[in-house]
Every structure is written in structure tokens, then in C-alpha cells.
């Protein structure tokens, strides 16, 4: 298969000619050198009332690792100040796992022989009804990235059904054009999550061999198109570990920072997925993202943008998740099952295979109990769709 140029837009892809955000994010990342920071820079950053991007860079550096406890304390203080003791709950729902991309690290990639499935409207309704019955009020709709198998109209129908059952509807689907985001907003969606995976375009090119997703700049500008399409909020993430995680985390923060300055009304949030290091690997990689590094990144996001939401992934174990809520995370998933149709099918695996293995399969009630045990308040909805 001939590879397309990953920096070149495909014919139907909208180009934001008047925006330089993507370019500025990539430049900032390229100029970021984590090894440059010293202990004194970290102390300085921790003492600052409002952090500059430079301070944020210090908190992400290896020099900040010995200050993890201080960072956690500062993060907890900020979270408390901005979110009180509230912790938001949501559940993701995978409605299709067809994918036309070849991303070498992903379970859904089009070369993998997995059971593919796509829920029809009836199936979506049944799944949503089952989830709504548990008491959940916020849903995140996910698909594999295939315009062919799950087109915008299909996602729109899913959003409309979701709007009947839930108070808050988010989408985590392939990047699309501004008018398409506006259409999904009309259908009831109000939150768009796009993981850039890595902001290092060379690495991105090596990992995304084929498909729409291969086009790096189109993905990079997805959040801006979503905001212009009228979405209330956008979420950012890099899959930490695909490339230099410190550089990627810096890029994620800068991406959110620059967009928030340009669109001050937009609600901003972060997700923190990571590739797990291989345990007992002889060749220990200094760029591996262990829990310690993951927590450093999460605390740095929190301290840099104390008002932003931060979602903790089900990929992490329950013990980790329970400790980061209230400290830096403000949102946690529960009742998660990543197979297609797995909320209603008798076999918990559903009819289509999962993208990844989850590490925390607790039900909504179990997560609510865990939140209460931390002295925090579980909040099922903090939102009104207008």
C-alpha cells in the first residue's frame, strides 16, 4: 500500500487557514527541553500563584520527580479550590469498532483480525437504556475511526438517542469538519474528545501507517473546529509513551492553554492514557511512563490549568484511580465495558471485541461507594444542555 503524505490534507478535510494554534503547539514542543530544568526552576514553579508555560515545563521535567509529593499537595489544594469535593461520573459506550486506520499500537486497527460490530439504532437504544438504568447521567459515545462504517449521520442518530437518556453527551470519534461538529452539537452532543496520540509528527508518521488518521495536522486542529462548531467543551490527550512523554505532555498542556486563551468560554479537560511499560524489561527505558511519571504529568496539568477537568482512565487500576480523584482528577468512568454491545449481551464481551483491556471493571455503585469513602461527593450531572 502506498503511504500518503501525513502532513498533507485530504480533499474533504477542512483547513483552518486563519489559525496558527497547531503550528504554535508543535513549535513550543520542539523547543521544550526537559533536561534543561533545575531544582530551583521546579521550586520556583511550585511557588508561583499562576503558572506560565515555562513553569509548567519545569513541573514536567525530570528535575521535578523528587518533588512529586509537593506537586501532589499543590494539586490537591487547587482541585479542592476549584472543584470542592465533587467528582463527576460518566461511562463510555462503544457503538462500533470498525476502523479504517492502521495504527500499529491499537487493538482496533484495520489489519487486526478482531470481531467487528456496529450497533444499529435499536442496539444503541438497548445499550443506553441498560446504562441509564444504573443511574448514569453522562455518556461518552465512541466509535472506531471509520467514516465509511460509522458516518456522521450514524453518530448523529446515536447522539439523539443518547440525548433522550442522558443529561450530558460527549463524543470520542474521528476528527471532522466544523459543520459536522455543529450538526452533532444540534443532535445533543456537547463535548468532543480527540487524542492526538503524539504531537511529534515524525513519530506520528511511523505509527499511523494508513487511513484518514494518518493526516497529522487535521487531527491537531480538531478541537478548534469543534469549538467553532459550537461544542461547549473539548478534551485533549497524548497517549503517553508513544514518544517522549514529557514533550508530549508539554504539547498537550500548550494545546489546551493556547485554545483556552483564544476561546475563553470553552471548557477544557485532559485525559491521561499511557502505554504501560513492560515489566522486567532488561533494557529499562528512561522514557517509560510508570505510575510515578503518570502522576507527575497529571499533577502538572492540574497546577498549570487548575480550572480544567481531568479524567482518569479505566486503563488504570482501582487503587490508583481512587487516590487521584480529589487530588488531581475530577472525572472518573464507571460501569465500563469496552466491547460492542457488552452492556446488554449475555456474554460480557458483547458481539464486537474491545480496543484495550480495562483495569477497573467496577460498577457505578461500586465507584460511588469508593468516592464516598474518600470523603468526596459523587456527582452524576453538573450540566444543562442549552
Amino acid at each position: 500500500m502506498e503511504k500518503i503524505n501525513h502532513m498533507q490534507y485530504l480533499p474533504d478535510m477542512e483547513i483552518l487557514k486563519d489559525s496558527d494554534i497547531g503550528e504554535r503547539v508543535v513549535n513550543a514542543m520542539q523547543n521544550y527541553d526537559a533536561s534543561f530544568y533545575t531544582e530551583s526552576d521546579v521550586k520556583h514553579a511550585l511557588a508561583a500563584e499562576y503558572l506560565t508555560p515555562e513553569n509548567f515545563g519545569a513541573l514536567l521535567s525530570p528535575a521535578a520527580e523528587p518533588f512529586l509529593e509537593e506537586m501532589a499537595r499543590r494539586a490537591a489544594l487547587e482541585t479542592h479550590k476549584h472543584f470542592g469535593n465533587s467528582v463527576l461520573l460518566f461511562t463510555p459506550l462503544y457503538i462500533s469498532n470498525f476502523c479504517e486506520n492502521h495504527c500499529i499500537y491499537c487493538g482496533f486497527n484495520c489489519m487486526n483480525k478482531i470481531r467487528r460490530a456496529r450497533l444499529d439504532e435499536n442496539g444503541i437504544r438497548q445499550e443506553m437504556e441498560a446504562i441509564a438504568k444504573t443511574g448514569m447521567e453522562e455518556i461518552l459515545i465512541l466509535t472506531g475511526e471509520s467514516r465509511k462504517d460509522s458516518n456522521v449521520e450514524y453518530i448523529g442518530r446515536a447522539c439523539k438517542i443518547a440525548h433522550e437518556y442522558f443529561k450530558n453527551v460527549g463524543i470520542e470519534v474521528y476528527p471532522m469538519n466544523t459543520d459536522e461538529y455543529a450538526y452533532l452539537h444540534q443532535c445533543g452532543a456537547d463535548y468532543v474528545t480527540v487524542f492526538q496520540e503524539t504531537y511529534d509528527s515524525n513519530r506520528y508518521e511511523q505509527l499511523h501507517l494508513a487511513g484518514h488518521k494518518r493526516v497529522f495536522p487535521y487531527r491537531l486542529n480538531a478541537q478548534e473546529r469543534a469549538i467553532r462548531g459550537g461544542m461547549r467543551g473539548v478534551a485533549f490527550a497524548a497517549l503517553l509513551g508513544l514518544s517522549d512523554f514529557r514533550k508530549d505532555a508539554f504539547a498537550v498542556g500548550m494545546h489546551a492553554y493556547l485554545l483556552q486563551r483564544k476561546y475563553p468560554h470553552a471548557e477544557i479537560s485532559f485525559s491521561c492514557p499511557r502505554l504501560r511499560p513492560i515489566i522486567n524489561n532488561d533494557r529499562i527505558n528512561p522514557k517509560d511512563v510508570h505510575e510515578r511519571q503518570l502522576l507527575q504529568v497529571m499533577c502538572a496539568y492540574r497546577i498549570f490549568m487548575p480550572f480544567a477537568g481531568l479524567t482518569i482512565s479505566t486503563r488504570e487500576r482501582a487503587g490508583f484511580r481512587d487516590h487521584v480523584i480529589g487530588m488531581c482528577a475530577t472525572k472518573i468512568s464507571a460501569g465500563v465495558s469496552t466491547g460492542i454491545g457488552s452492556h446488554t449481551e449475555e456474554e460480557t464481551a458483547g458481539v464486537g471485541d474491545s480496543q484495550f483491556e480495562i483495569s477497573d471493571g467496577r460498577s457505578l455503585q461500586e465507584v460511588i461507594d469508593a468516592i464516598r469513602q474518600q470523603g468526596l461527593q459523587p456527582v452524576l450531572n453538573d450540566y444543562v444542555y442549552i
Binding site: H80, K81, G84, Q260, P264, F307, D382, Y383, V384, I386
Partner: protein
């Protein structure tokens, strides 16, 4: 002493308004009981987020003040206010129009517009605003029942950062001035009351205290102390000592 706090024709004896954004419902009960609050604010976006009807969770004798949190412009504020009325929250509405996700500062221009639209719809608008005299006058003329200037950015516990501007509103606006947002300690609440604020609204300061019940009590006492001092007329405070030997003592005729 008959010192009633009157807003939109309704009388209250407590001058403490409790915010509920960062509270658990169980804690609302404790705070209401110990801080003596008779008005509790609640974001409409949270109204349905508790099991059952929120109104059942609000203690007897407490007036619910729904807010339009989440609104980014006047139209959205009106929509949310109407939803609140449909949900059975009454006519009082605290207007919050915020267009900045970082500092959450209120947008005075849109807030004044919302005030006018809501007053015409029969609501009792109480606008949360940045303490600006012109904006406060616009809101008053638009039909506001009280003006709620912020003391500092919401949740910041920074205290009376806008003190001098709130003082101007107290002097110039013939409506109750309720100091909202940023009050971090009972002493700051007391200071605002001494200045002549009609009431204090707080949430974070109590929600994040080590002991919620004790902090609620402390706020109650501070607000009463400040109000009493205001009514008593605070003593003359000079900014320099009076000279014991008069400078003009040499004059003979």
C-alpha cells in the same frame, strides 16, 4: 431589634446565603443548621443530579435560590431560569453569566441584559456581577432585586479584594448589596458586613474548612457581629494619631 433582610418583598432574618456547589446534600443540612442560612443557592444543572427531588432535600424554612450557572450569554440565562421555574424552584433567580472558563468572572453586559429579560418574565433577579458602578445601576434599572458583587474570583478564598468598589456600590445603589464569591474567612465576612453589605454568600470557605460545622458557626457569628457593628455605627477611626500638643496653640487673639 427588628432588623429584617428584605429582597423582592420577601423577609429573612439571616444574612447568610449558603452556596451549595461544593457541598454534599448531607452537609447542606449541617451548614444550614449551624450557619443559620435561610437561603441556599443551587445550580439548576445540579438540580436533577441527586436521587429524588432536590426540593425534598432542602430543609424546611429554607428558600432555594437557583442560579443560571452554565449560561454563557443572556439568552442562555433566561432559558435556564425558565427550566428552574418549571422544576419548582420559585421566582428567585441568581443570574450567573460566565464566558471565561479560567477565572469564571461574570460578564456584566450580558448579566444586565439577562436581568432585564428575567424581570419582564416575572422573576426576582439577583445578578452576580463584577463590582462596577455603571453595571450595577443598569441592573438596578433593569429590575434587579439585589446586587451580588464578587469579593474575589470565585473559589479563591482571597477575601475582599474588590473592597473599595463594593463600598461604592453600598453607598450608591439603593438595593441590598450581597457580597458573593471569594470570601475565605469569617473575619472577611464581618468586615464586609461592617461596611454595610446586606448579606454574605459563601460556599468554598465552609465547604473546604477542616470542620464544616464549626466553620458554619463561625460565619454565623461573624456576620451577626459585622451587622451589629454597622447598625451601631462604627467608632471614628482616624488615620493618624491626634496631636496632644495642638499645632495651633500659639494663637493668642
Amino acid at each position: 431589634m427588628n432588623d429584617k433582610f428584605v429582597i423582592g418583598g420577601h423577609e429573612f432574618s439571616s444574612r447568610f446565603i449558603l452556596g451549595s456547589g461544593k457541598f454534599d446534600l448531607d452537609l447542606i443540612h449541617a451548614a444550614v443548621e449551624h450557619a443559620g442560612a435561610e437561603i441556599v443557592t443551587l445550580a439548576l444543572r445540579r438540580v436533577n443530579s441527586f436521587s429524588g427531588n432536590i426540593l425534598e432535600h432542602i430543609p424546611e424554612g429554607v428558600t432555594l435560590l437557583p442560579n443560571t450557572s452554565g449560561a454563557r450569554n443572556a439568552q442562555e440565562a433566561v432559558k435556564i431560569a425558565k427550566l428552574a421555574r418549571e422544576a419548582g424552584c420559585g421566582e428567585f433567580i441568581k443570574i450567573e453569566v460566565i464566558h471565561d472558563s479560567k477565572y469564571l468572572l461574570p460578564d456584566n453586559y450580558e448579566t444586565a441584559k439577562a436581568c432585564e429579560m428575567l424581570a419582564k418574565e416575572g422573576f426576582i433577579p439577583m445578578p452576580y456581577m463584577y463590582p462596577d458602578l455603571y453595571a450595577a445601576r443598569d441592573m438596578m434599572n433593569a429590575g434587579a432585586a439585589a446586587i451580588m458583587p464578587l469579593a474575589a474570583p470565585i473559589g479563591s478564598n482571597q477575601g475582599l479584594a474588590t473592597k473599595q468598589f463594593i463600598r461604592i456600590l453600598i453607598e450608591e445603589i439603593d438595593l441590598p448589596i450581597i457580597v458573593d464569591a471569594g470570601i475565605g474567612k469569617p473575619s472577611q465576612a464581618c468586615e464586609a458586613m461592617e461596611m454595610g453589605a446586606a448579606a454574605i454568600m459563601a460556599n468554598t470557605a465552609i465547604a473546604t474548612a477542616g470542620n464544616i460545622v464549626e466553620m458554619a458557626k463561625a460565619f454565623r457569628h461573624a456576620i451577626i457581629a459585622g451587622r451589629t457593628a454597622y447598625l451601631a455605627g462604627t467608632g471614628r477611626v482616624l488615620d493618624r494619631a491626634s496631636a496632644s500638643s495642638p499645632l495651633t496653640g500659639f494663637i493668642q487673639e
